[in-house]
C-alpha cells in the first residue's frame, strides 16, 4: 500500500478554510466512494483494500455502506459550514477494492445517500468498478435501477499465464459475459487492461487487446504495470523470481495498443484512456466524466478509508485502515489523517502535470514564461502538436504521450 503523503494535521471537525470554497459555484463537485474490500489480494496491487482476514475484529463489511453514508452526510455539513453553495454532484464513482463484493443493494443505498445529501446533476455520470467474477445479470438490474450509468471492468489480461503473475483470479470468459449484461441494460462499459507484466510477450498483449475489442465496450483504459513498493510482485522482483519491467517493452506495447484501439474506432482523451462512439453515445459522451474532473483539478470528496479529497487547492486524505476510519465516522468527526494547502505555484505545477495528460491540453496562455518558451523545443522534438500550439493549446503528440512526464518537467523548467 502506498504511504499517505506527509501533510499538516486535519481539524477534527473537518472545517475547510474559506478559500477552499470561495469559487465553488464555478467548480464541479464529484464524489468518490472507496470500497476497501477484496476477496483476495492481487500480487501487483497497492491499493487500500483488505480481505476478510486482514480486516480484523471490530469492522464488518456488512456495516460499511452505512458508515460510508455517514461520511457523505458529514461531507455535506462541512461544505455547508464553510459557506459553499449547494452543488448537485457532477459524477459519482465507486472504486476499490472491489465494490461488487458488496451486495448491489448496498451500493444503491450509498448512491441514494449521495442523491439525498447533494442531489445528482441531470447528466451525472455514476460509475461502479466491477470484478467480472463477483457479478450476475441481476447485479446490473439493481445498479441500473439505482441510477448507475457506467461500469468499469477490471479485465487486465486475457492471457492465463499473465493473469497468474498478476494473481488475478477471474475467469477470462466471465468478462465478455458481464460486459454484455451491462450493455444490455443501457449501461456504459469500460474495460481496464494492464500491459508490461513480467513474462508477457507482445503477442500476449495483442491477444488481450483483441479480446477486449471483441467485447464491444465503449471505453478502454490501459495501464503499464507499475511495480509498487510493498507489493508481493516488488518482492519477487527484488529476489529475481520475476524479470524486471522493461520500459522499452512497455513503450512498444503502448504504441501497439494505441494503433489497435484507433483501428477499432477509439480515440485517446487521456494518456491511458480511450473512448469511441458506441451504443448511441458519442466518443465525447463515453469519456469518463469523473476522471476528467481529476485531470481538470475540479473538486471532489473521497468517501472511505484512505480516500483523497480536493477542494480548490486543499487536499486531504482519510485514515487508511477501516477500523479507525469507522470509529471516527461513527463519532461524527472527520476521518481525515492529514491535509495540505497548496500555494499558487504548487497549484500551477499540478495544473500543468494533470492538464498535459488530457487531449484537451493546456492553454498556452496559462503557462508561465519558461513554459511558453519551452513549447517550441517540445514541438521540434515531436512531443507537442505544433498546429494545436499555434491555436493556443499545448497538446501531446502520439510520441509525446509516452513522454508526458518529461514534457511536464520541461514546461516547468525542472
Amino acid at each position: 500500500m502506498p504511504a499517505q503523503p506527509e501533510g499538516d494535521p486535519a481539524p477534527e471537525d473537518g472545517a475547510l478554510p474559506a478559500g477552499a470554497v470561495a469559487r465553488a459555484s464555478e467548480r464541479t463537485l464529484s464524489l468518490y466512494v472507496h470500497v476497501p474490500f477484496c476477496a483476495v489480494r492481487c500480487g501487483y496491487c497497492d491499493f487500500n483494500t483488505y480481505t476478510m482476514e486482514q480486516l480484523g475484529d471490530g469492522v464488518s463489511r456488512d456495516d460499511y455502506h452505512r458508515d460510508a453514508a455517514a461520511e457523505v452526510r458529514f461531507a455535506r455539513s462541512v461544505l455547508d459550514a464553510a459557506g459553499a453553495p449547494p452543488r448537485a454532484l457532477h459524477s459519482v464513482f465507486f472504486g476499490g477494492g472491489t465494490p461488487t463484493l458488496l451486495p448491489a443493494r448496498e451500493l444503491a443505498n450509498m448512491l441514494g445517500q449521495a442523491r439525498q445529501s447533494f442531489g445528482l446533476a441531470p447528466d451525472a455520470e455514476v460509475t461502479v468498478e466491477a470484478n467480472p467474477d463477483s457479478v450476475t445479470a441481476e447485479t446490473f438490474d439493481v445498479l441500473a435501477e439505482a441510477g448507475v450509468t457506467r461500469v468499469s471492468f477490471g479485465m487486465q489480461s486475457a492471457v492465463p499465464h499473465v493473469l497468474r503473475v498478476l494473481e488475478r483470479t477471474h475467469t477470462p470468459a466471465n468478462v465478455p459475459r458481464a460486459v454484455g449484461w451491462a450493455t444490455e441494460r443501457g449501461l456504459g462499459t469500460s474495460v481496464d487492461l494492464i500491459y508490461g507484466t513480467p513474462g508477457e510477450s507482445v503477442a500476449d498483449w495483442r491477444t488481450s487487446l483483441e479480446a477486449a475489442l471483441e467485447m464491444d465496450s465503449d471505453h478502454v483504459s490501459a495501464y503499464s504495470l507499475i511495480i509498487e513498493d510493498g507489493t508481493k510482485l516488488a518482492a519477487q522482483m527484488r529476489r529475481g523470481e520475476v524479470p524486471r519491467v522493461d520500459p522499452d517493452d512497455q513503450a512498444e506495447k503502448y504504441t501497439l495498443a494505441d494503433a489497435m484501439l484507433r483501428e477499432a474506432g477509439f480515440e485517446w482523451y487521456e494518456v491511458s484512456n480511450w473512448s469511441r462512439d458506441a451504443h448511441g453515445r458519442s466518443a465525447l459522451e463515453n469519456r469518463s466524466a469523473h476522471n476528467l474532473a481529476y485531470w481538470r483539478n475540479q473538486d471532489w470528496w473521497g468517501i472511505g478509508p484512505g480516500a483523497h479529497s480536493h477542494s480548490d487547492g486543499v487536499r486531504w486524505w482519510n485514515l487508511k485502515h477501516p477500523l479507525p476510519y469507522t470509529n471516527k465516522v461513527r463519532q461524527g468527526v472527520s476521518p481525515a489523517a492529514g491535509r495540505e494547502t497548496l500555494d499558487a505555484q504548487t497549484r500551477y505545477v499540478e495544473d500543468v502535470m494533470l492538464g498535459i495528460r488530457i487531449r484537451d491540453g493546456l492553454e498556452t496562455a496559462r503557462l508561465q514564461p519558461e513554459g511558453r518558451k519551452a513549447v517550441a523545443g517540445l514541438i521540434a522534438d515531436g512531443w507537442l502538436d505544433g498546429a494545436a500550439a499555434v491555436r493556443g493549446t499545448a497538446v501531446l503528440t502520439d510520441a509525446g504521450r509516452l513522454m508526458a512526464d518529461a514534457v511536464t518537467r520541461r514546461l516547468l523548467d525542472w
Binding site: 502506498p2 503523503p5 501533510g7 468518490y32 490501459a222 495501464y223 503499464s224 507499475i226 520500459p247 522499452d248 512497455q250 513503450a251 512498444e252 503502448y254 494518456v271 491511458s272 476522471n291 481529476y294 485531470w295 471532489w300 473521497g302 484512505g306 480516500a307 483523497h308 479529497s309 480536493h310 487536499r315 486524505w317 495540505e340 504548487t346 505545477v349 499540478e350 502535470m353 494533470l354 495528460r357 522534438d381 504521450r401 509516452l402 513522454m403 508526458a404 512526464d405 518529461a406 511536464t408 518537467r409 516547468l412 525542472w414
Partner: protein
C-alpha cells in the same frame, strides 16, 4: 654488560667518533618500520608502554598503506664495550616517487642497512636505492628480515645479497623485527662497522636539509645533518640556495620526541625550527649556514623538485572549490613537490591542475585531501608533460590535453624513463611482451641469481603512469618489482583524442596518446560512457575524435517512455512529489550541451580501476 647506554652523549658536545649515522633501505613491505620500532625499544628510547606499532610513521595514510612518506631522524644511545655511542637512525622514504628525497637522506648518512625480506628477496626499488647508497659511498650492512616466517629462505637470499654487494654470505645478518631476534647484534654491528662522521669543527657551519615537515603548532620543522661547524640556538641562519635568513628559534634531537639542545655539532643529526610556515622556504637538499660567518660553498646536490605527473582535481560539489583551494594551500606547506594552478573545465567546473612527483604522490595527495579536508574529488586521467614544436619552430609545453595546440605540429617529445624490472625468470616473456606493448625499448638483462632476472627498459613515462605497474603485477602473479627514473625525452607520434557527447567536446575526457593507441582509447572511453550515462530524452551519440576525424562511436538510445500511466485523485500528491524529486535529482547532473551527465559517471569514467576489475585504493 648491559648494552643500554650508561651516560648518553649530550647533543652539541658529542665527539664525532661516537656518532653513527645510518639509514635503512628496504622495499615497502619488507618490515623496515617494525625493525625500527624494535631498535627504539632495544635502546630504551621508547618504553614498551609507549610503543605504538610503527612509531615513526606519523600520518594515518602512512600507517594504512605501510609506506613511510616523510623521513625522520631518531637519536638512540647504545653502549658497546663500555663506550656510549649516539646512533642516528634516518628513516628514508621507500617509494620511487621520492627518489630525490631518498638521495638526500642517504647523503646524511655514513651507512645503510640493506634490509631484505627473507621470504621474498631483493626488489627493484631496493636495488635502485642500493645503487644510490653505493654512489654516496655508504657502508652497506646487509640484513635479512622476517627470518621467523615459515616461508623464509635465509640461506638462498643471503647468497643473493652477498653476491650482489660482494661480501660473504656469513656477513649477512639475520633478524626478525617481529620477535626482536638479532636486533641487539645489529646495533652492535652498526657501532662496529659504520664509519664515524668526518667534518671540520671550526669551519663555518654547514648543515644539509634532508627533510622538512610542517607542524601545525611549531611551523616548519627542518631535519638537518651537520657537516661542519656548530649550529646554536638564537643565531641567524641562512639558506644557501635562496639567501633567505631566519632566526634559529630552536634546535635539538629527536629521541623519539623532539628534545631541544644547546646546539648541533659536526656529524650530528637533528631538527631546527625557525618559525617559517611553508616547507618551500626550507627545501630538502639545501645547505644551512651562519649568516654572519657563511660558508663559501654549499654542500651541493640541491635540486628543485620537478613534477612528472599532472592531473586535474575537481570538487564533486562545485561549492567546495574554496575548500579545495585552502586544502591545497595547507598541503603545500608540508609538500614542496606539490604544485598547482587553477583550472576550469566545461564539464567539471572549477578545480586545479596539479603536478606530482609520480602516481603514488598523486594518490596520497588525493587521499589526504579527501580524508583530512572532507572533500569529494574527481581527478582527471594522469598526464605527463609534452614538449611540442610548432611549424613556426616555437615551443609549447603541454601538461594538460586542453593545451594541446590546434595548428600544424612539427614534433612532439615526451618524457622517457629508464625502468628496472626484477622478476623470477619464468616471467621474462610476459614482461618483455608487456614492455613492448608499452613502447618500451630493451636496454639489457642480467641474472641476479639462478632464477631472478633484472630487465632494463627505456619507456615513455606516459605509459608508466597509466596502468603499467598494475599490468606488470598481474602478468607476473605479483612477483615483479619495478623501479624507474627520468631519462630525458624522445620524439613520438602522439595525437590528442577528444570525446564528444552529441557533438560537444568533453574536455575532462580528452587525452594525449600514441597514434597506435588512440583507437583503443576511443573505444574504451565511448564504451564506458555509453554504459555510465543514463538514457536521455533524445538519442545521444558519443564519439571519439582526432581533430575532426571520428575514430569510435557509440549511441545512447533515447528514452521511449517517461510517463506514469495512472494518475487519479489519490495519485496526484504522490506524483507531484515524484516530479519534485526528479527535479532535485537533476541538480546532481552536469550539463554537457543538452546532455545530462550524472556526477558519478564522470568519476567512474575517469577511474582506471574499472578496467582491471579491482580497486587499487583502499
Amino acid at each position: 654488560m648491559s648494552p643500554l647506554a650508561v651516560n648518553p652523549p649530550a647533543p652539541a658536545s658529542t665527539d664525532p667518533s661516537v656518532i653513527r649515522n645510518f639509514c635503512i633501505i628496504a622495499h615497502i613491505d619488507h618490515g623496515k618500520s617494525t625493525l625500527a620500532d624494535r631498535m627504539l625499544q632495544a635502546t630504551g628510547v621508547v618504553t614498551p608502554r609507549q610503543m605504538k606499532a610503527q612509531y615513526l610513521d606519523r600520518m594515518d595514510i602512512e600507517r594504512e598503506r605501510g609506506i613511510t612518506i616523510k623521513s625522520q631522524a631518531v637519536r638512540m644511545p647504545w653502549n658497546v664495550d663500555g663506550t656510549d655511542y649516539a646512533l642516528n637512525m634516518i628513516d628514508t622514504p621507500g617509494h620511487v616517487d621520492f627518489t630525490y628525497e631518498v638521495s638526500r637522506s642517504l647523503a646524511a648518512c655514513e651507512a645503510t642497512i640493506l634490509l631484505v625480506d627473507a621470504a621474498q628477496g631483493i626488489e627493484a626499488q631496493t636495488l635502485a636505492n642500493l645503487y644510490l647508497a653505493l654512489e654516496n659511498d655508504l657502508t652497506i650492512i646487509p640484513v635479512l628480515n622476517k627470518i621467523d616466517l615459515p616461508a623464509a629462505q635465509p640461506e638462498k637470499y643471503a647468497a643473493e645479497l652477498a653476491n650482489l654487494i660482494g661480501v660473504e654470505p656469513e656477513d649477512v645478518l639475520k633478524v626478525s623485527g617481529k620477535t626482536g631476534e638479532g636486533v641487539e647484534e645489529l646495533l652492535d654491528r652498526i657501532v662496529r662497522d659504520v664509519p664515524a662522521p668526518q667534518g671540520k669543527k671550526d669551519a663555518p657551519s654547514r648543515a644539509m636539509i634532508f627533510d622538512s615537515v610542517y607542524d601545525t603548532y611549531r611551523g616548519v620543522v627542518t631535519y638537518v645533518r651537520v657537516v661542519d661547524g656548530t649550529l646554536v640556538p638564537r643565531e641567524r641562519i641562512q639558506m644557501m640556495s635562496t639567501g633567505a635568513t631566519h632566526e634559529l628559534l630552536e634546535i635539538g634531537v629527536i629521541s623519539p620526541e623532539p628534545i631541544p639542545s644547546k646546539g648541533l655539532s659536526v656529524g650530528e643529526v637533528g631538527y631546527l625550527i625557525t618559525g617559517v610556515k611553508d616547507v618551500r622556504q626550507s627545501r630538502v637538499g639545501d645547505t644551512v649556514t651562519n649568516q654572519q660567518k657563511p660558508a663559501e660553498d654549499s654542500l651541493g646536490g640541491y635540486e628543485d623538485p620537478k613534477p612528472m605527473v599532472f592531473s586535474g582535481l575537481f570538487p564533486v560539489e562545485g561549492s567546495d572549490y574554496p575548500v579545495l583551494r585552502d586544502a591545497l594551500e595547507k598541503l603545500q606547506l608540508n609538500d614542496a613537490a606539490l604544485v598547482y594552478e587553477p583550472e576550469t573545465s566545461t564539464a567539471l567546473g572549477f578545480g586545479f591542475r596539479c603536478g606530482f612527483l609520480g602516481l603514488l604522490h598523486l594518490e596520497i595527495t588525493r587521499d589526504r585531501l579527501e580524508r583530512e579536508f572532507n572533500l569529494d574529488l574527481i581527478s582527471t586521467a594522469p598526464s605527463v608533460s609534452y614538449n611540442v614544436t610548432l611549424e613556426d619552430h616555437s615551443e609549447v609545453e603541454v601538461t594538460n590535453p586542453s593545451e594541446f595546440p590546434e595548428g600544424r605540429i612539427l614534433e612532439i617529445r615526451e618524457p622517457m624513463v629508464s625502468a628496472t624490472i626484477l622478476v623470477p625468470s619464468e616471467f621474462i616473456g610476459a614482461v618483455m611482451e608487456l614492455s613492448q606493448s608499452k613502447r618500451g625499448e630493451m636496454k639489457g638483462m642480467d641474472y641476479l641469481s639462478e632464477d631472478r632476472v633484472e630487465l632494463r627498459y627505456r619507456l615513455p613515462l606516459a605509459e608508466i603512469v597509466f596502468d603499467f605497474f598494475d599490468q606488470l603485477k598481474s602478468k607476473t602473479r605479483g612477483y615483479a618489482s619495478l623501479d624507474w627514473k627520468a631519462d630525458g625525452e624522445q620524439a613520438a607520434d602522439l595525437v590528442k583524442v577528444d570525446i564528444l557527447l552529441q557533438g560537444e567536446q568533453v574536455d575532462a575526457f580528452s587525452a594525449i596518446t600514441h597514434k597506435d593507441k588512440a583507437y583503443s582509447y576511443g573505444v574504451l572511453m565511448t564504451g564506458k560512457l555509453q554504459k555510465l550515462i543514463p538514457r536521455q530524452q533524445y538519442e545521444v551519440p558519443i564519439q571519439a575524435a582526432i581533430g575532426s576525424r571520428i575514430i569510435a562511436r557509440e549511441n545512447i538510445r533515447a528514452i521511449r517512455k517517461d510517463v506514469l500511466s495512472k494518475c487519479y485523485g489519490g495519485d496526484i500528491s504522490r506524483k507531484r512529489k515524484l516530479l519534485e524529486k526528479q527535479k532535485e535529482g537533476k541538480k546532481r547532473m552536469k550539463m554537457v550541451g543538452r546532455v545530462e551527465v550524472p556526477q558519478e559517471a564522470f568519476v567512474a569514467a575517469l577511474s582506471s580501476d574499472e578496467d582491471n576489475g579491482k580497486d587499487k585504493k583502499k
